[in-house]
Amino acid sequence: MWTIIHKMGSPPWFFRFSGTLVRWLLPITIALLLVGAVWGLLVAPPDFRQGNSYRIIYIHVPAAVVALAGYYVMALAGAVSLIWRIKMADITMRAAAPVGAVLTAIALVTGAIWGKPTWGAWWVWDARITSMLILFFLYLGVVALFEAYENKTAAARACAVLSLVGTVNIPIIYKSVDWWYSLHQPASLKLTGESAIDSSMLYPLLLMILAFYCLFALTVLLNMRAELVWAHRESSWLKQLAGGA
């Protein structure tokens, strides 16, 4: 176990390992996305109440789920970086933050688009949308803090502290927003209440969630590789690799 962690910390090893991973992950992600999209958008039956407009959940829900998971990935990398001082963990955290922010933004925009036909308004202060908005702010905070520090090692350390504080807070935020919403909930908005989803709609959704996880992993890996190339632009192992290719 320890040797694996140690190996992961070595940039040349990680660069080669992630290269192999990306070669596999890229076709898998594309295939999953294609199958999931076709299944969800064309094959799955229309909702008896919302018609075809519900199909946006095949983007909205996976983006929201993975965005939240992404924050935990980022915070975990931050904890590893704080405790073991592994530089690769810094890079993971830094690579995950903007991807997570974009996913949250996608979830927000698709949520608004979904809201228009469903509630008749682009923006409704629904519990899940509001939590997503706060998650978006949390991500922006990490990205902005990283950019504000000139010393990037210090920036990574600071972001690790911030994302850990955020991680402790996220369950409290989600819970409090839930309570807040249920206290103020007008009867007409109960539409989003958890209703049993038919399996013909559920399977493509699960597939799309899996596809988004792969997409997240792929983007973060590519981001990390770009970061590594920049950080080690003068190193011999990279020049060797570039010369050999």
Partner: protein
């Protein structure tokens, strides 16, 4: 007795490597002056030795004694009096009595200024208040960044005498200064130019 041991220390600031493979050890009774041009990394090294800088510091630094660090900033609250400043100073001995603090201020020629707000004192006098800490700390290892700046000749002589006294009692001092060596044979120079990356 070794108070400070630095082995193979490298200092990196931002993206730039300043110093590489600095190794030296400081024993009780020694005075070390860090020498080198502006920007060579004297302050960075001193902060690393104190333990304030960790990021971008390679190699191994071991401190075997508690440290008194005097930086560019004097750590004084301008609105508080000299007496209150020292009484509440985080780097002073918690148990220092009122009399001991007053006598420390007297020794740095600030008798009569104890109750004035530090902000009303001149730059040189403020520096003296900061230096009065050297009389109120039990730390054997002193790390002083440019301690002689902003002091008049008498102040410099007092500081020099205080440092001599400290090392005679078994302490050690590492300091940076642009002035020529003051301690003659007693001091050792660490020329950082030879460690520039």
């Amino acid at each position: 007795m070794t108070l400070l041991q630095a082995s193979q220390v490298g200092i990196e600031r931002g993206d730039r490597q300043l110093l590489i493979e600095v190794s030296f050890s400081v024993r009780g009774g020694e005075i070390w002056q860090l020498v080198g041009a502006n920007g060579v990394g004297k302050t960075s090294l001193l902060r690393a030795l104190a333990g304030l800088a960790r990021l971008g510091v390679a190699g191994d630094i071991q401190r075997h004694a508690s440290v008194l660090y005097l930086g560019h900033a004097s750590a004084l609250k301008l609105s508080l009096s000299a007496l209150d400043n020292l009484r509440c100073h985080p780097a002073c001995d918690v148990t220092a009595s009122q009399e001991r603090i007053a006598s420390a201020l007297e020794k740095v020629s600030l008798a009569g200024y104890e109750d004035r707000p530090v902000g009303a004192l001149s730059a040189g006098q403020q520096r003296r208040v900061a230096l009065a800490r050297l009389l109120l700390s039990e730390a054997p290892l002193w790390l002083l960044d440019e301690p002689f700046t902003a002091l008049d000749a008498a102040g410099c002589d007092w500081l020099e005498a205080r440092i001599r006294e400290h090392v005679e009692a078994g302490g050690a001092t590492v300091f940076t200064s642009h002035q020529p060596s003051r301690f003659g044979a007693l001091q050792q120079d660490l020329d950082l130019t030879q460690y520039v990356a």
